[in-house]
Structures are given as structure tokens and as C-alpha cells.
């Protein structure tokens, strides 16, 4: 759980993990690396596929979980689960 220490601010054009983003940032999903089949499928089902745009909308007061906006709706995820999603910052 030392995700927090590593989290530096990513700027537009940089690549990283979905869990690295801050409130208000936008990104495009590049790829998944995830060995939990159920979680992987669940994320796919929720519309997190390659190329989809995701915006960080709200972050819980204690820093985790995070509310993201994609495909016109909102979804809450734990940072741990967001770590396996590679992204590129677009805003």
C-alpha cells in the first residue's frame, strides 16, 4: 500500500496507472495487466476497454476509493484495483 508515496503528478501526454491520477484529470486507457480474472472481467463489463476516456471526478475524503466518470456514467473503484490499468493522460 505504498501507492501514495509513489504518486507524483502526471502531466498531459505522460503514461502511467489509472491510480496515479488526481481529481479532475482525464486519460485514455491503453492496456490492462491484471491476474484476477473476475476483476478483469468486471472492469471490462463496466466499460473500461482499450481507448475509452476516463475522468477522475471525486476522491473519497480518506483518499480511497475514487469516483470516475466514463461512458456517460460514474463508477467507484479502489485504488488497488485501478493500479492494473495503464493510461495516458489527456487533460
Amino acid at each position: 500500500m505504498n501507492l501514495n508515496n509513489k504518486r507524483k503528478k502526471l502531466t498531459v501526454g505522460e503514461e502511467g496507472h489509472l491510480s496515479d491520477l488526481r481529481r479532475g484529470q482525464k486519460c485514455v486507457v491503453l492496456n490492462f495487466h491484471n491476474d484476477n480474472a473476475a476483476l478483469r472481467r468486471r472492469l471490462l463489463d463496466m466499460g473500461i476497454t482499450k481507448g475509452v476516456t476516463i475522468e477522475i471526478k471525486k476522491i473519497a475524503p480518506l483518499g480511497d476509493p475514487v469516483d470516475i466518470c466514463l461512458r456517460g456514467y460514474e463508477l467507484c473503484l479502489r485504488r488497488d484495483d485501478m493500479h492494473g490499468i495503464d493510461i495516458k493522460v489527456v487533460k
Binding site: A38, L44, G47, T49, V52, K58, P61, D64, Y73, L75
Partner: protein
């Protein structure tokens, strides 16, 4: 004709189900799992409707999805009513594309709430219907508009039949067709199965063969994605396309929900606001209503000379000299020439037992009203959102804090409030750990022992028990999470629904149903258990009634059973065999207050005696501060009262799970108490 109602969570599915069925409902559980199963009949027709669990997909990974999939395959309903939340159209249609692959007709109920206009979205329903190849009815589940049209369409049978919409690019459709050609003739839902083969779905692996495997591999190479990813990707691509053609969305302004969340989910304000909200819920259900009604209802059942109503520190006393139902029935029986035991059966067995449980009813009504309010307005989801980080570490959900707080009042409503927790493992764990919180009824035990044995430091001792309970709950959470629920992925995927003004008819119905279910149990199982304990405590093995003159308490069957179980308490009581302690602990199953009153009876004291005289009686004179603390710990952690046990049975979904939970609680209580008592025993040696 049988319809199945399918849709995402929070899509208005329950509201639509209620609107379609009116009051013709039957609620139970799906076989083998604790997921609620609701069946009903559509108003004014003979069409039965089954409410399937809220799902996002037909993947094989979650219980809800498995139940839904199995139902469609094994029962094959004639029609699926697919409710779609227009505000999250894309994700909802993702499920629709899967439903259309089965060989069942689908009618879409497009739930357009008022929010839609606010959000600036316009949907061309006719175009959408044409592109999907199925009938769509716009409804508002909440307002009840469009429901009649939906019912008419279903009962007339004039909906568009399933056309097996082709949504994939040609190369994928070719592979699907190829898979279908290789299937056995009796393969059910061929198109669905063919797609599942591409997805490498674990339940369709047997359909994989040399041919289709090679085909799928070619596709995977071409698109640079594995089959599962490919199918999800193409479904969403199709929906994206659909949306461009049929939906006009203007730039949405910051919604009221976002504005409210700025305050309610604010870094600094969220927790204080939550504390205030919980304090209000607690004050209403446990403090105000509990304090005002517990003695009142007790008076109605058992009679009282003085009625004490309390509100926190304030207490009002009234001279009432009310006879009460039990004593009144008793006098009726005496006048009719009934025997002493008959009077006792009615008064102490039936009325007192049921009364002990009915004390909780007003609290339960208020509590459920508060919970339904928090839930329907959307605040409950925020609670689990911002507390998740803390509780997740202990195998619990953010929502577990609700039962733990309510548990300081009464375990019964607390255990029932666990049903708002979505994750089955987290719910399970919360139900089993909630009774560890010292409830109101355990206070008399703590007060009695602490004040007698620890004098001026009684306050610290009582407080230490609360701390002890919290530490044990968190420890158990961590340990059970790693031992029992290991390997289960408890992933937090949830939504923050838009804030809504609550629907009062929905709340009234919800509260009514839950309260009725509770009363029904109080009248059956709990009544039976109370009567059994009364019977064992009131008769000798040779069936002589214990009248306190010819036969004393130590001759009762309960004392015999107490003797048989006295060894259990041997270590924690510092090396003493005591049937009296065992009997008191068993009596605690009826209600925890009974532990103290049972000790009073066994010590041979009347109503007027000071309870601290208990420890002067030879029956209990062996207690030391160590064994007193050990006994308090045992009562704190061991099986709760019948009321709470029956709530556990209901929420855990099966008798077996309840038994496991109770055994765990008793086992833990015994180990902890024996360690404490044992240390005291060693020191004294």
C-alpha cells in the same frame, strides 16, 4: 406466461417490480444462495413475473450473474423485461446486447426519470428500437407513468420477437456462425454459446474444439486482444455507434448531485456530517424511541407499578399500577381454577418471552425508516464510499459502521441493517461480529458485576469492555478475512447514485414488510424457544412443577442441564463448578437482562432485595474480580439472545450458516473468558 425482470443495480428495478405487481408478491431466497428471490403477478393479468438480481453482465463470476444466467437457461422465461436507466444508457445497453443473444424475447423498459431532462439528454426511442430490433416502452418507474402501456404490450404479445441482432464485424460474425454449425443439435441458446466460446467462458470450455479454437486464435491475433476483451470491446463499440445516432446530449451543467457531493464528500466535512447523521439515527431509534417505549411495552406485557420513561439522562416516573397482559391472563386462569404451572406458562413463558422481543418493535420501525431514508436518498452509498478505506483492511465494508453503532443499542436491528452491505463476504462477517458490541440488554450484567467487584473503578471496567469488544471485532475481521474468505475477490465496484427526494410510499412499504417479518418470527421461533427454556426451568425431571416450596430451582431440568454444562465455566470461574452460573447464562438466550434476574431467583432473593446481595449468597460467593470479568466477557461475546439469533438466521440465509456463526461466537467467548479466568486462578494459587 412467465416474465423475468432484468436490469442493472440502481436502475429502478425494484420500483418497477412493485409498480407492475402491486401487492401480489412472494419474497424468498434463491436456492443455495442468500440472494433475494421475488415473484409476483402483473396487475390485472395472469402473467407471473420474477425479479432477477441486479446485474451488469452475464459473466460467470458473481453469484448474482450466475443466478440470473442459470434461471434463463433452466427455466427459460417467455419474455425478459429489461429495465434500462436512461441516465447510464451505454452501460445498460451492454447487458441488453447479451440478453438479445439468448433465444428469449426482450422488451425494454426505458426508465426516463425527471433527471433526464435536467441532464440535457434526448433519446430517439423509435430509432433506438429499430436499431436494436426490440420493443421499447418509456416509463418512469417512480412516477408510475408508462406502466400501463408496458403491461398492455406484454399481455397483448405484440412486441417485436427476438431477431438475434448482429452487432459484431463480419469476421467475428463468421466465427460465431462457424461455432454454431459445429454445435450439437440440442445445444441451447446457440448464438449465446457461440459468443461464450470466443470469450473462453469457463462454463463453455467443453464446447471448445480444434476448429473453433483456431478460429478464435486468428481473431485474437488480428485484433490484438484476447477473446473476452474483444467481445466487450465490440459490444461497447456497437453501443457507441448506436448512441451517436439515437441520443442527443447537450453539455450538462454541474448537477445538484455534484454540488451536494462537494459538501457531503468534502475532505474535512464528510466525517463530521456522517457523525451527526448517525447520531440522529441513533438518538431517534435507540435513545428517544427506545427509551420511551421499552418500559412502556414491558408494562403492557408484564405490568408495572411505576412506569419509567427515559430520554438519555432524563427520566420521568409515573404511578400507573398497570396490571399488564401476563398478570391479567394469569388472574383469569387462577379464577378459572387453573393450576400454578398454567399461570406460570402463560405469564413467564409465553407473554414474558414474546414481550422481551416486542420491546424492540418501535425501535425497529424507526430504525428501518431512517435506513430506508438514507438509502433512497443516496446517502448510504456515500457512507460506504468514504469509509471503505478503513473497513476494507478488516474484511468489512464501509457500511459495517452502521450495524456497529446501532449494536450499542440493540443487536436485532443492527444485524438487520447489515442487509445494506452488497459484498456477501463483508455482509456475512458484519452479521457475525455485530453481536459482540455490548447492547443495552448486556448493560445490567456489566453494571452488576463491575459495580460490585470494582467499586469506584467500575466505570473504567465497563469502558474497557467496549474497547475490548472493538479490538476483538477488528482482530476477528482480519483473521477471518485471511482464513475463511481467502481468495474471494472482494472488489469495491459501486456507484454513487444521484441524490433523490425519497418516495414515502416506498419507504412505508419497505418498513411495513420488514417489521411484519420480524413480528412473525417473534410469534413463532422465538416464542417456542422461550417456552422451552421456561419449561426446563419450571419442572423437575419427574415433571413436578417447581413451586419454590416442595421443589426448588436446583431440582429443575434446567439445573440438571446446567450441571452438565458446568464444566464449560470451570476455568473461567477460577476452578468452580456452578450449575447456577450455567443456568443463568442459558437464560440469557431468552434476553440478556434475564441473566441478572435469573441469578436473583437462584440466590433466593425477592424483588425488593438489592441485587448486590446476589454475591453474598452461597450460590455465587465464589466470584472474584477475575472470574467476574471473565463471566462478563463470556456474556459479551457468546451467543446473543433468541431475537438476535433469529435475525442472524434471517440475514445469513440458512440455519447452517447461523449455527456456524453461533458456534464461532460461543467458542471465542469461551476461549477469551477461560484465559482471563485462568489467569486469575493461577494468581490465586
Amino acid at each position: 406466461m412467465i416474465c423475468a425482470l432484468v436490469g442493472n443495480q440502481n436502475s429502478g428495478k425494484t420500483t418497477l417490480f412493485n409498480a407492475l405487481t402491486g401487492s401480489n408478491q412472494k419474497v424468498g431466497n434463491w436456492p443455495g444462495v442468500t440472494i433475494e428471490k421475488k415473484e409476483g403477478t402483473i396487475k390485472g393479468t395472469k402473467i407471473s413475473i420474477v425479479d432477477l438480481p441486479g446485474i451488469y453482465s452475464l459473466s460467470p463470476y458473481t453469484q448474482e450473474e450466475e443466478v440470473s444466467r442459470k434461471y434463463c437457461f433452466e427455466e427459460t422465461p417467455d419474455l425478459i423485461i429489461n429495465i434500462i436507466d436512461a441516465t447510464s444508457l451505454e452501460r445498460s445497453l451492454y447487458l441488453t446486447t447479451q440478453l438479445l443473444e439468448m433465444d428469449i424475447d426482450v422488451v425494454i423498459a426505458l426508465n426516463m426519470e425527471d433527471i433526464l431532462d435536467e441532464a440535457g439528454i434526448k433519446i430517439d426511442v423509435d430509432a433506438l428500437s429499430k436499431r436494436l430490433g426490440c420493443s421499447i416502452v418509456s416509463i418512469s418507474a417512480k412516477k408510475g407513468s408508462g406502466i400501463k402501456k408496458l403491461i398492455d404490450l406484454i399481455s397483448s404479445g405484440k412486441y417485436i420477437k427476438n431477431q438475434h441482432l448482429k452487432i459484431y464485424p463480419n469476421d467475428i460474425e463468421d466465427v460465431i456462425q462457424n461455432n454454431i454449425d459445429y454445435f450439437a443439435k440440442d445445444q441451447k441458446f446457440k448464438r449465446f454459446a457461440a459468443v461464450k466460446v470466443i470469450e473462453h467462458d469457463k462454463e463453455y470450455l467443453i464446447l471448445e474444439n480444434r476448429h473453433n479454437k483456431a478460429n478464435v486464435e486468428t481473431l485474437e491475433k488480428k485484433y490484438d486482444m484476447d477473446g473476452e476483451q474483444l467481445i466487450a470491446d465490440r459490444r461497447y463499440a456497437f453501443i457507441q455507434d448506436l448512441k451517436t445516432d439515437c441520443v442527443k446530449a447537450s453539455k450538462r451543467p454541474e448537477s445538484l448531485t455534484d454540488k451536494l457531493d462537494r459538501i457531503l464528500l468534502n475532505k474535512w466535512l464528510a466525517i463530521p456530517i456522517f457523525i451527526v447523521v448517525m447520531a440522529v439515527v441513533y438518538m431517534l431509534s435507540v435513545g428517544l424511541v427506545g427509551g420511551l417505549t421499552v418500559n412502556l411495552i414491558d408494562m403492557l406485557f408484564n405490568g408495572a407499578d411505576v412506569l419509567e420513561l427515559s430520554f438519555f439522562q432524563m427520566t420521568w416516573s409515573f404511578e400507573v399500577n398497570f396490571l399488564g397482559l401476563g398478570p391479567w391472563l394469569g388472574s383469569v386462569i387462577v379464577n378459572a381454577g387453573g393450576s400454578d404451572w398454567a399461570v406460570s406458562l402463560v405469564q413467564n413463558g409465553i407473554v414474558a418471552g414474546v414481550g422481551a422481543v416486542c420491546n424492540f418493535i418501535p425501535q425497529i420501525i424507526i430504525l428501518f425508516t431512517c435506513l430506508a431514508l438514507l438509502e433512497t436518498t443516496g446517502y448510504m452509498s456515500r457512507i460506504s464510499f468514504f469509509l471503505d478505506r478503513v473497513f476494507h483492511k478488516f474484511g468489512l465494508s464501509g457500511k459495517s459502521l452502521v450495524p456497529f453503532i446501532l449494536g450499542t443499542g440493540c443487536s436485532v436491528p443492527a444485524i438487520m441493517s447489515c442487509r445494506t452491505i452488497e459484498d456477501p463476504d463483508e455482509k456475512h462477517l458484519s452479521i457475525i461480529l455485530t453481536p459482540f458490541i455490548p447492547c443495552n440488554a448486556k448493560l445490567p450484567i456489566i453494571t452488576l458485576f463491575a459495580s460490585y467487584f470494582f467499586g469506584t473503578s467500575a466505570w473504567y471496567v465497563s469502558f474497557s469492555l467496549y474497547v475490548f469488544a472493538i479490538v476483538i471485532i477488528l482482530l476477528c475481521g482480519v483473521i477471518l478475512k485471511h482464513l475463511i474468505y481467502k481468495g474471494h475477490s472482494s472488489t469495491f465496484i459501486s456507484e454513487l447514485p444521484a441524490y433523490q427526494s425519497p418516495s414515502f410510499s416506498y419507504i412505508a412499504r419497505d418498513v411495513g414488510d420488514k417489521t411484519y417479518a420480524f413480528i412473525k418470527r417473534a410469534g413463532s421461533v422465538i416464542l417456542l424457544c422461550s417456552v422451552v427454556v421456561w419449561f426446563l426451568g419450571s419442572f423437575t425431571w419427574s415433571m413436578h412443577y417447581i413451586d419454590g416450596v416442595n421443589y426448588a430451582v436446583e431440582n429443575s431440568m434446567l439445573a440438571g442441564i446446567g450441571n452438565a454444562f458446568a464444566w464449560v465455566f470451570y476455568v473461567m470461574l477460577g476452578g468452580n463448578y456452578s450449575w447456577a452460573v450455567a443456568v443463568s447464562a442459558i437464560q440469557g438466550l431468552v434476553a440478556k437482562e434475564q441473566v441478572v434476574s435469573s441469578m436473583t431467583v437462584i440466590a433466593g432473593l425477592g424483588d425488593s432485595a438489592a441485587v448486590s446481595d446476589i454475591f453474598a449468597s452461597p450460590m455465587f460467593s465464589f466470584f472474584t474480580p477475575w472470574s467476574a470479568y471473565a463471566f462478563m466477557v463470556f456474556n459479551l461475546f457468546s451467543a446473543p439472545c433468541f431475537g438476535a439469533i433469529s435475525a442472524m438466521r434471517k440475514e445469513l440465509g440458512s440455519f447452517k450458516e447461523m449455527l456456524k456463526g453461533i458456534s464461532f461466537q460461543i467458542g471465542l467467548a469461551w476461549v477469551l473468558a477461560s484465559i482471563i479466568g485462568g489467569i486469575g486462578w493461577l494468581i490465586a494459587l
